[in-house]
Symmetry: C2
Subunit: 1004 residues, 2 copies
């Protein structure tokens, strides 16, 4: 008999015993657990119901009173499409809720939720938690205590999270001294084990826990973690570092490894860390830790888990067309878990292995592997979650295993993420809990070797467009990916690129007209706004005569360029995209230095640029090869498109590569030629783009580069009677002038000039009183302050519902104080400088105005590194009237105006009370309010429950209306049509009364 066969036989033996013992411990109908099981079965029958129920549970803690609660219950569950059981329908059915007494409903819902929370959360304060723990000990089980709360939004909240642990250590240690010794859980082969055991999530200790600046994050986390570790060690407690999302994995491992090599902790063995078997890298992570442990020389604990963020990890991966970092099939995770189990036992001399799972097969494998490798029962432990799979826990204890229960502690509100993950696990078809006990699926099948059985399971969610207007040819477009700065390699590349671009400083950039460089008398120094003395490059300044030459060159090139086949034009564009992607670090670095855009923003700008070049390449091929046909026997009708001619592209500094690329690539894809006037402050970057276009073979004269002052040459471009269309993105003041000037048909001008004009915004975010406030604060901070609020999409008005006004403002204040400010080339910087001295002065004036029109809630502190640069601190102004100038005029800086709304009606009214309509956001968990915003929130891009910047090409066509622009949606399938003339071609195919055979035979 092969080893695997023998092994699987033993696993089955152990598993059957576990099942028998667990079955004996099943709850009866007289226990609450039985009812809970019934409820999850009901949820399990209907996906839509489950979604709604989870969403309701998610927002429940935030619902202040019974009226609000009843409204939400109705909004979530009073839906004909839900297949509610009859008895439930009678109570909550259509209209029914409205007639019930709100108080009754509120009480019932809260009772249910409290019950549910009570199943998973050990306590709200130390005494209640201690009570629970002692009950567990009475059943022979150990614990590890986890303070609910993760992904904090500010330093002060991180401080508070740490404080709770300090307090817990004191309370628990004091109490633990009095506990009776239970050998199974309080001792191992080396002697007594800590009775107090804590699990900590690092994202709770730093609002900017981000690998992009690993040193900073480690410093920041350590500043809170080290005192905690000292206290724990003094108190004889054990500390485990939990593993969270994939993006935090490397940083968490790095921190763990660094910290516990420090002198203070190197010889401490009462520490542990979790590793995740659902990661494809699970084994690598484990081996890395084992090697580290060998080097360190002190024993520590490794907790093997499967991983709890599968939904989010796969969704994020699917969104980015990436392979998920997690296994996409359940059996793969299970198999990986078993492989890692073996590795852990093989290294049991280095670590104390802990196995967290509710899967009987996995646990049976743990036991069988330990037996096989001669690891005794007190050398390892089994871990389970509080409130889940209690019969399994009992069974394991009866088998003589050391069982440690993971015990969440604290308020329901911050713990909601944890709660939902647990509910998900209980109802998921994948979850062993449901299969193992709920379904009573055949034990043997459940105990089978995952590498052989390959249990059926859902595949990876597809990136699927649920679209009723299928544009098949577009299904192939893939957005480019942003750089993952969690990897050291990419961080090093970016640092290298910044150095490289610094090395280029002082280069000169002439005009390019008809592929010829043209030097000029006037030159502009393009400087680094973070360090104004740094001149990034010297850029020639075109005169109106130069611009006229450029227009003529573009006119001449037009006939040739339009004649190039769409597929060939598209391929040139794709080459440009590839070349930009190849040079992406250099382009981003140029942006960082020339316009002060922080790393990640600059990187995303490059990504968007790449997307534009590829997207319009795809689009022009779609348009050309799939024209709209309306053919009937004897008559062919086709809608075709022709390029317009010479396009003036006038672009802003805000998205110096993305918007410039978008307008230019669209013009070129359509078959137009371009005269490009980039933003003055970003003209070195523009010159590099033009260089790339030349490199990939865009023919001479097709793109002409004429940087220079907008007031003279911009105007000249717009007014020129030989320019067929103008693609402009910039301020509202300039933009309306551009529209006005472009509308005049000049003498000899044989066309109406097409004006594609995108302007500013005064973008609001509404925070509803049932919103996820932490999510809202994080999104508002990012939307308002990233790149110093200098995106057309930046948030500048925050409209907060009365019910959450105070608490939100409190958190917002803390979060604003925590915003990382600094030069753009520092990787952790979120808020860099504004673009130039004029902007700095203007924004400062706005802040002065804010002092008179409202009250400054918080004004961030500029760090020393910001001295000398054009920095402005982040400012939050409160008590502002909706009509105040500060609430109406675009600032284009890190100034956020907060307006209080008494109810949702008023919030929408305030949001729409603007001459702009670009982006807007809503944080709400009320389906009715979300629906209403979908209908009435007057903005070009509305974002619900996320930040309001960072639109993606194709998925989120971008552009606004009112005074925000001409309503053209960039990155949409229609965008190119604005750069072309539509032509309907009708051919009478009937000749001498004869219908062409093709048409005769195509009949159905």
């Amino acid at each position: 008999m092969a080893h695997s066969e023998r092994f699987n036989l033993r696993v089955r033996e152990i598993g059957r015993e576990v099942f028998e013992l667990a079955d004996a411990a099943q709850p009866s109908i007289f226990q609450a657990a039985w009812w809970f099981e019934q409820a999850t079965r009901m949820l399990d029958r209907d996906d839509r119901l489950r979604t709604r129920a989870f969403q309701f549970v998610d927002c429940l803690p935030s619902l202040r009173d019974n009226a609000v609660l009843t409204r939400h219950l109705a909004e979530y569950l009073d839906d004909k499409r839900l297949d509610l059981p009859k008895i439930f329908r009678t109570a909550v059915g259509p209209g029914r809720l409205l007639t019930m007494r709100e108080e009754l409903i509120g009480r019932a819902a809260r009772f249910g939720a409290t019950q549910m929370a009570g199943r998973f959360i050990t306590g709200y304060d130390a005494p209640s938690a201690i009570k629970t723990i002692e009950r567990l000990r009475a059943k022979g089980m150990a614990f590890t205590m986890d303070v609910l709360g993760e992904s904090t939004t500010s330093y002060s909240r991180a401080d508070r999270y740490a404080e709770v642990y300090h307090h817990l250590i004191d309370e628990l240690a004091a109490r633990a001294a009095s506990w009776e010794r239970i050998p199974l859980i309080d001792e191992d082969s080396n002697g007594p084990m800590p009775r107090v055991n804590l699990s900590i999530k690092l994202t709770g200790l730093d609002p900017h826990f981000d690998a992009i600046d690993t040193d900073r994050a480690i410093r920041e986390v350590s500043s809170r973690l080290q005192p905690l570790l000292h206290r724990a060690r003094r108190a004889g407690a054990f500390v485990n570092i939990d593993m969270e999302s994939y993006k935090h994995r490397d940083l968490t491992l790095e921190l763990f490894k660094r910290l516990f090599l420090e002198d203070d902790f190197r010889d401490w063995c009462e520490i542990g860390i979790a590793v995740q078997a659902y990661l494809k890298d699970g084994e690598r992570d484990l081996i890395g830790l084992l090697e580290w442990g060998k080097q360190r020389g002190t024993r520590f604990t490794i907790r093997l888990v499967k991983g709890a963020y599968w939904d989010a990890e796969t969704a994020a991966a699917v969104r980015n067309y990436k392979d998920p970092p997690v296994w996409t099939r359940k059996y793969q995770s299970d198999a990986c878990y078993e492989r890692m189990t073996r590795i852990m036992f093989q290294h049991a001399h280095l670590i104390r292995p802990a196995f967290a799972s509710h899967n009987v097969r996995s646990l049976a494998v743990v036991i069988a592997t330990a037996e096989e490798l001669g690891v005794s029962r007190n050398e390892y432990e089994v871990q389970t979650l509080f409130g889940m799979g209690d019969p399994l826990k009992t069974a394991m204890v009866r088998l003589g295993q050391c069982v440690r229960v993971y015990c969440p502690y604290g308020d329901l509100m911050p713990g909601m993420g944890y709660l939902i993950r647990r509910l998900l696990e209980n109802t998921s078809n994948e979850g062993f809990l449901k299969q193992g006990f709920g379904d009573r699926t055949s034990h043997d099948r459940l105990l089978a070797d995952p590498t052989i059985v390959k249990q059926p399971s859902s595949p990876l969610p597809a990136r699927r467009y649920r679209n009723t207007d299928p544009e098949e040819p577009m299904a192939t477009f893939k957005n480019a990916s942003n750089t993952n700065f969690a990897t050291g390699e990419n961080r090093r590349k970016m640092i290298g690129a910044i150095d490289y671009v610094r090395g280029e400083c002082g280069r000169t950039y002439p005009l390019i007209i008809n592929d010829q460089t043209v030097s000029t008398k006037a030159w502009h120094d393009s400087i680094n706004p973070s360090r104004p003395r740094e001149v990034i490059g010297q850029v020639a300044q075109a005169t109106t005569a130069d611009v006229s030459q450029a227009i003529k060159a573009a006119r001449r090139a037009f006939q040739q360029w339009r004649a190039v086949r769409a597929a060939d034009r598209a391929n040139l564009l794709r080459k440009a995209a590839d070349r930009i992607e190849m040079r992406r670090f250099e382009m981003a670095a140029t942006m960082i230095l020339e316009v002060g855009k922080p790393w990640r923003e600059a990187d995303a700008d490059v990504t968007e640029a790449v997307d534009h070049w590829r997207y319009y390449a795809d689009q022009i091929q779609r348009i050309e090869s799939h024209p709209r046909l309306r053919n009937i026997p004897g008559e062919d009708n086709m809608l075709a498109y022709s390029p317009k001619g010479v396009c003036a592209v006038i672009s802003p500094f805000a998205f110096p590569l993305a918007i410039l690329s978008g307008m230019t690539s669209a013009a070129l894809a359509a078959g137009n030629t371009v005269v490009m006037k980039p933003a003055r402050q970003a003209s070195v970057l523009a010159a590099k783009l033009v260089e790339i276009l030349g490199d990939v073979g865009i023919p001479p004269g097709v793109v002409n580069f004429v940087p220079g002052p907008g007031t003279t040459i911009g105007q000249h471009l717009v007014e020129n009677g030989d320019v067929n269309l103008v693609a402009f993105t910039g301020s509202h003041e300039v933009g309306t002038g551009v529209i006005r000037a472009g509308a005049i048909v000049r003498p000899g001008q044989g066309f109406i000039k097409k004006m594609i004009v995108e302007m500013g915004g005064k973008n609001p975010i509404i925070v509803d009183d049932d919103a996820d406030l932490d999510g809202a604060v994080q999104a508002v901070i990012e939307s308002a302050f990233a790149f110093a609020g200098q995106k057309c999409s930046s948030c500048s008005r925050l409209i907060v519902l009365d019910g959450v006004y105070d608490v939100l403002l409190d958190r917002l204040r803390q979060a604003t104080e925590s915003v990382p400010i600094g030069p753009a080339d520092a990787p952790a910087t979120m808020l860099g400088p504004v673009i130039d001295e004029r902007a700095q002065t203007r924004v400062r004036e706005c802040i002065d105005l804010a002092r008179t029109e409202g009250r400054i809630l918080v004004e961030g502190k500029l760090p020393p590194e910001a001295q000398g640069g054009y920095f402005v601190p982040p400012v939050v102004v409160v008590d502002v009237k909706p009509e105040a100038r500060i609430a109406q005029e675009e600032i284009f800086g890190p100034v956020l105006v907060v307006i209080r709304a008494s109810d949702f009606d008023q919030a929408i009214e305030i949001a729409n009370n603007s001459r702009y309509a670009l982006t807007g956001g809503l944080f709400s968990r009320s389906p009715a309010h979300i629906d209403r915003a979908r209908r009435e929130f007057a903005v070009g891009n509305l974002y619900i429950n996320r930040r309001i910047t960072g639109s993606q090409v194709d998925a989120q066509p971008f552009g606004g209306f009112k005074l925000s622009g001409t309503g053209v949606k960039a990155g949409s399938p229609d965008y190119l049509l604005h750069f072309m003339d539509a032509r309907c071609i009708t051919e009478n195919t009937l000749r001498s009364g004869f219908v062409p055979s093709e048409e005769r035979t195509e009949v159905s």
Copy 2:
């Protein structure tokens, strides 16, 4: 045995005998006919090849020299998609043709074509025709002579057509006297029969053979036919009236019946008429003729045919969503033929029956029915076509039947339609000739009863959109149908409606603001331009204060109207469409009287209006219910649209209902409210539309009616800062001013005004040197002169290739002289008055200018009925330089400028040498030139081989670019989007890391 069984047995007996006799007469490989059969088999294998070959044959006679011919041969046949036989491919394969000597190819092709034509056409002059006839007589066959040429374009050509018959009668009669008597064909039971037999097509005798004015058409045809009949009777010749397209059927029957009841002809029995068994009305037509014959009291001939226009009739029907007038299955026509055969023999005392067919079953039925009813062989005759089914003819003669052969005579060029119909019959799967002899399908199957066997056959061509961008919800839109004025009922309705509207003259029409009538100080008399003293109505004239009130009302109504569900708005629009259709005669009559639009044009205007109301109703529902979605796990993205606000609709008189309806219905469908300023000259009609909108329940304030002078109130509307969008159609001068004024953002105006502006055209038609010149002339006349050239789409430049310049101009001159001019209320009028005195003066000035810039080729004569009205004669100006003012400026009157082009390059260049780009046309049969025009002809609507006016909603989205407009396509699926703001709505559906179940389970 039942009668039908016995009868079918007998039919089979006869049929088998026919087949035997025919087989014996099959051509051998040594005869040309055998080779012809092989060629048709080849064509038959490949639909595309057949199409190309037919199209090549169609244009062949027009190809002047070998170089041109070779080019065409290559263009048609040098195509990789064609599945040419190898041997042919070698000769004509890719590139191959270019290396062959043009002369050789030219000679070969011409030889082939001449051979082919020679098969079907008896002769090019009398001597050659007589030779053929005498060969037929030698084989025992009679003839009927048909002069090729149908659908003439001018009176002089109609005269010539008649002349040929006069000449033929003389020649044939002289010769016939010397022919030996052949009893089988020269005698029947009443004695000798005319040896000379003619078949005449009435469309050859009148360029405006149109039932809309039956009396006029009959007068016109009679003026040429009567002398012919007299001469024939004198010469002892027989005259048959052929039956052509369905639209001419009633008129043909009417003329026949009237004419031969006249004293001169009532007692003449040597006349005949054809009836068509492929018409569903075939039996009814036959019975009507029999009844007429009984009343007349003199014997005459009825020729029973199946019908030769099936392709065109079904294509036209499919295009109009109508039931075709013809049977859609071959077996149905066959069965009808048999029923009609029986009826004819039952009335053999009234008529001499003639049976034209090549179907052995049909002819066997004829013989069997005659036997059964005791009609002797010399009491009826069988007719066949020259050049087709010769073995069948021989067999019938051997059976002792009187066979008459239908003998086309004349030039190939005008006879091409005839030739193509014959080729089609020879290669069609439906055709008996191919099945009977070519395929040697089992005789029994071919002889089976069509009512029992139901031979397989192609169904009706579907109205099928071959579209790669399927917008499913739109497949249901059906264009409304124009009124069929061939029916007396409809003609009477229109006359009644005109009377009714005349009776309303003098009514007053106040403003309508917020559903309230508002009377004003100033009133405008809207007069009839055909008869200026006729005041159609008095219309209140709004002041700017009234307009401000109307804008305010529209603003107030906007919030309610936008909140109406799209489906409900759509249903109101559909009701409006229904109501307009219900009152369509009244609306058309109002248009006829108020703007002088002729009957058919006015009717089509109403149809287009109805289409707009229905189309945008469909479109808004499509847009609302099928938004573009880009949903991925954790993120929903949707593109939605919101109305803009108050829309000013400023419409022209040219399409007083259609364009007004288009702009208004689009604005309303999108959810905007409207302030309507119609053209002054068409404001009574506009008032009626507003009345209809009120009747169907469009809420108060949603449409406000403010007629008045454009210079004051039009400007006020455009400049008003409370008007969100302007939909304007009018002249280029006003339009550019509107664009300029609309581009200024007024104080307090919180949006960029959307300008949807459609302006004029200087629309060219190119006539290539291989064009179907008759088709071109007809289309040019219609495009240039219908409604006195006052459509934005009217043709005003004719660009003619050198090679056909003289001949085309000659025909154009004749056709122009034949244009029916008169008051618009006269049904036959094509060219009515221009809109008003100012227009009359302006057009006259243009004509004066034309005299200096070119030469007047022809100037139509105004008839006495035109006195007093604002008439201008149709004018054709030749020898004009492309840059001349007359060739560059829009005239908006019946003035056509002709420019000569030396080659196609130059023609395209001249066509594009214009500030306008609205409509354009090309007449060509060169695939390469057609392709080139498709790519390079810079117009918004290009029409190939048809007239350039009369676009259909949805099939032909309408609108131009350059100075013709803002490039918005009316009647397109995108039109509504211009009336709305696009909003992208992004919802993060991931809550607490949980992806909604719907998205998780929708994975593939």
